[in-house]
């Protein structure tokens, strides 16, 4: 797998990350590399290539990897659907690839628009704008850009943050462990049939919580304690009770951060 991926000049994960701004970008790259038609994507082949990249990206920043992993799940789902016999009598049955293709085509347009903008920025660098010959102390012109709404919001945030620190001795809650998050997910599902990923993270806005919760969900899904559904790769993730929901096992036996990708279906 090394031969397809490792470019000697970009042999670092950080660079690989910079190469693709998201899973759609990676897919477009693969479609181009494999010289296939974007409107008739050979899903099995592209999925195989895609998963090779994901393996390479394992040690990447988790948040980004999360989106890449969700796309992997989508590709596998489409691949599975394509293997199922199609209902010939139903003329309305959609090609399982259709949504993905539409998303890719739409994204591709903006990626190209972004290229045109980049060219304009480079062209603009060819211009040299002379400084004003008028002494600014004479006309007292203020060269700073005008105050924006963003400046106002930043000021508001600063003043509140500073004051809060002064007014309260904030006790930092301890970072939630994987175990806690898994327990929370299972607990949520024992009270309601469905929970969204957003709800599962809503008790704590810290970014790390979102990441740990995400891994907890993946892990629970892997062991079939829960099932995960997503109507579309970027749609809200919904979590349901799985076939082995009721099986209680000590959660800590399941916990293996690093193993998620290796042991999961992604191989």
């Amino acid at each position: 797998m090394q031969e397809t991926i490792t470019d000697p000049q970009t042999d670092s994960y950080q660079v690989q990350l910079d190469m693709f701004s998201g899973p759609l970008d990676l897919l477009l790259y693969l479609i181009k590399q494999e010289e296939v038609d974007i409107y008739d994507i050979p899903i099995a082949r592209i999925t195989r290539q895609y998963l090779k990249y994901i393996e390479q990206m394992q040690t990447l920043n988790l948040e980004v990897a999360g989106e890449f992993i969700l796309m992997a799940a989508t590709l596998i789902r489409i691949k599975t659907k394509l293997l199922l016999p199609r209902d010939e009598s139903d003329p309305d049955e959609m090609d399982p690839r259709e949504e993905l293709i539409l998303a890719l085509v739409e994204y591709k347009r903006y990626k190209e628009a972004a290229e045109h903008l980049r060219d304009r920025a480079l062209r603009e660098e060819q211009y040299f704008v002379p400084p004003s010959p008028v002494s600014h102390s004479v006309v007292k012109v203020d060269l700073n850009p005008a105050t924006s709404l963003f400046d106002l919001l930043s000021a508001f945030r600063t003043v509140l943050a500073t004051r809060q620190r002064e007014l309260f001795h904030q006790v930092q809650p301890e970072e939630s462990s994987m175990e806690d998050r898994m327990a929370l997910v299972l607990n949520a599902l024992s009270e309601q049939e469905m929970a969204t990923y957003r709800q599962l993270c809503s008790d704590d806005p810290k970014r790390m919580i979102a990441v740990v919760t995400f891994i907890a969900v993946l892990e629970l899904a892997r062991t079939r304690r829960i099932s995960v559904e997503q109507s579309w790769p970027f749609a809200e993730m919904r979590v349901y009770r799985g076939t082995r929901f009721a099986e209680s096992g000590p959660l800590d036996e399941l916990v293996d951060y690093a193993g998620v990708e290796q042991e999961g279906e992604l191989q």
């Binding site: 910079d18 701004s21 998201g22 899973p23 759609l24 970008d25 948040e63 980004v64 989106e67 796309m71 998303a103 739409e106 994204y107 347009r109 903006y110 990626k111 190209e112 628009a113 972004a114 290229e115 045109h116 903008l117 980049r118 060219d119 304009r120 920025a121 062209r123 603009e124 660098e125 060819q126 211009y127 040299f128 704008v129 002379p130 400084p131 004003s132 010959p133 008028v134 600014h136 006309v139 012109v141 060269l143 850009p145 924006s148 709404l149 963003f150 790769p233 970027f234």
Partner: protein
Amino acid sequence: MMSASNIHATVEALIMASPEPLPVARICDVVADLTPSKAAEAVAQLNTRYADGNSSFRIRELAGGYQFYILSDFTGYVEELFTRHRKLRLTQAALETLAIIAYKQPTTKSEIEYIRGVASDGVVHTLLERNMIAITGRAKGVGKPLQYGTTEEFLKFFGLAGLDDLPKPAEIEELMA
């Protein structure tokens, strides 16, 4: 009443003195009886005169204003003497996000994320901080999310006279339809 030649010279002086692209409305504020179309005419004639005299500079339209610039034939010499502060490069993620905002404005973060397929909080924050985009209002509908649009700084960065000047290759034309 100012003579035509005097109007030309005044317009020229104002544009040259301004450290930023000078909006035509501001020129008209200062020069009595000047209309935007007469100002545009004056700029065109000044440029003809600079070209006829083999001058090294021209006036151009940028971000809804007028600005002097030095012809690229001479930037080589100029750069030998003065190091220009190079503009910060935008990342691919920032460019994509800007493209979506530029062509779809006003647009929301969830629309951006839907098209890009990745969370875009960080890049939207950076673009706001760099004053390339601004909050322009709220969308109607569920949750009334904040809407974003591009700024004058965006036009300046990409050397655009205005939003009409956005590149319009065929595939993007479809977007605008």
